[in-house]
Amino acid sequence: MSLAIALRGYTGLVLAADSRATGPTSSEDTSEKFLQINRDTGVLTFGLKDPGYSGITKLVEVTKAQRFESFARITTEGQAIFTAEYQRWLAGANLPAGQVLQQGSVAFLVGGYDAVHSNQFKVTSYNSPDFAPVKVEMPKLLAARWHIAEAVTALFFYPEMTVNQLASLAVLAVMETMSIDPTVGGPIQLATITWHQGFRKVTEDEILKYIEGNQSTIVGLNRALNQLIGE
């Protein structure tokens, strides 16, 4: 399992995820969950690792080969690509007889700046098995192991936040989830989408700075909670 986050603020979008892939008996922190599709758009997967990774890889390949220009075209083509990759994986997965995968076992988020039609930052989500595109109207989307991240972002989020603030908050939400939930962990993956820079994968060094910057927030929150509940 994993955690996926999309936050929309005043100056852009932030996408975040952990990198843990959890199996029945073990886990590994090697899962690549993000890819850049074009200048202004990125794709994120969560849930089952193999069909997820092949889905985002294929969407990038097809977008480059066929030069999809608009966010709308990418999100429309996404459904067919994700469905095809999922069905291909299912055919070779040798699942035990009678096993039915839950809805949303594999999921995707496409986030980007729609410079062709609306001039807006947009997020579209897809869930197995049909991967019907769903426009995300809310400024926050938290998926998979979302519970603690929801509690944290509900405390800190407001819609006028800048991308830098959103990035810091996304890292905080992943950190706090990791502190409790063993199925979320490993290096944090983060990308921002802004007018002037488009899609940009945030580097490990930058993420480390967010982690260090959040330490005083965590300590301050703990202190405030303990003081207030003890009054």
Partner: protein
């Protein structure tokens, strides 16, 4: 919904059993449609009780039927001369396993029962033992693999949010007042995350066992006081966090 937010909270000299429930109707009776809701708690002895928790969405009718059936089975157990919570849980486990026929096991919903209370032997302490429909022995009998919990226990649909707050703020040395305040703070945070989807109910029903009190329902006046105090804490935390704007220092 109801019985989706549950907790057993162990404070300095007592233990609280917590479950969410719908608002009572004007006549003070909690109902679901025409049927009265059964209690999520069953008195086992003067100092021990069982509490039900449902960890995935379950049809309300199925839930009520399960509660009534399991509660009736638990009430038939004779706990005379049993003084350890582990032994009480073992009796409950046997009774529940015998209740479920083999052909029903595979269709049994995911739910659990916490057996909690004061042990007077081998040591005097408050204990919590979890029995779950999906934890089964080699013969595939449900409720037969008990789990002992050293700290607080959170069931239902939002255990992660409760665990998050538990790690940040809870102390085993809390007194009853602060333990109740902590429970309502957890509920407020969980309700904001899930209440809007109708998955947890806005009110709590809380029972207690302590060094000085046999199993009883916590009076509504105490709940109102704790709820009000927790709301103040939540409001102040909310404002402080918003004010920091994703930057450092609360």
């Amino acid at each position: 919904m109801f019985y989706n937010f549950t907790a057993a909270v162990r404070y300095k000299d007592g233990l609280l059993g917590v479950v969410d429930c719908p608002l009572p109707s004007p006549d003070g009776v909690v109902r679901l449609g025409a049927a009265a809701l059964p209690s999520a708690f069953v008195r086992l002895t003067n100092t021990a009780f069982a509490g039900f928790h449902f960890d995935v969405p379950i049809d309300p009718g199925v839930k009520i039927a399960l509660l009534n059936r399991c509660s009736a089975a638990l009430r038939q157990i004779d706990f005379t001369a049993i003084t350890s919570i582990n032994d009480i849980a073992a009796r409950c486990s046997g009774q529940l396993a015998a209740l479920i026929p083999a052909n029903e096991v595979q269709t049994l919903p995911v739910f659990g029962i916490m057996v909690v209370g004061l042990s007077t032997s081998p040591v005097r302490d408050f204990g919590i033992v979890g029995l779950h429909s999906y934890r089964r022995d080699a013969a595939n009998r449900p409720f037969t693999v008990p789990m002992n919990f050293p700290g607080n226990v959170f069931g239902g649909m939002v255990p992660l949010i409760a665990q998050f707050l538990d790690a940040k703020v809870f102390s085993r040395y809390f007194d009853r007042v602060h333990a109740l305040r902590f429970v309502y703070l957890m509920h407020a945070m969980s309700y904001r995350a899930l209440g809007i989807q109708g998955l947890i109910a806005p009110e709590l029903s809380i029972v207690e066992v302590s060094e000085t009190t046999d199993f009883t329902e916590v009076p509504r006046s105490d709940l109102t006081t704790a709820r009000s105090a927790a709301a103040t804490v939540f409001q102040k935390i909310d404002l402080a966090c918003k004010a920091l704007g994703g930057g450092p220092a609360v």
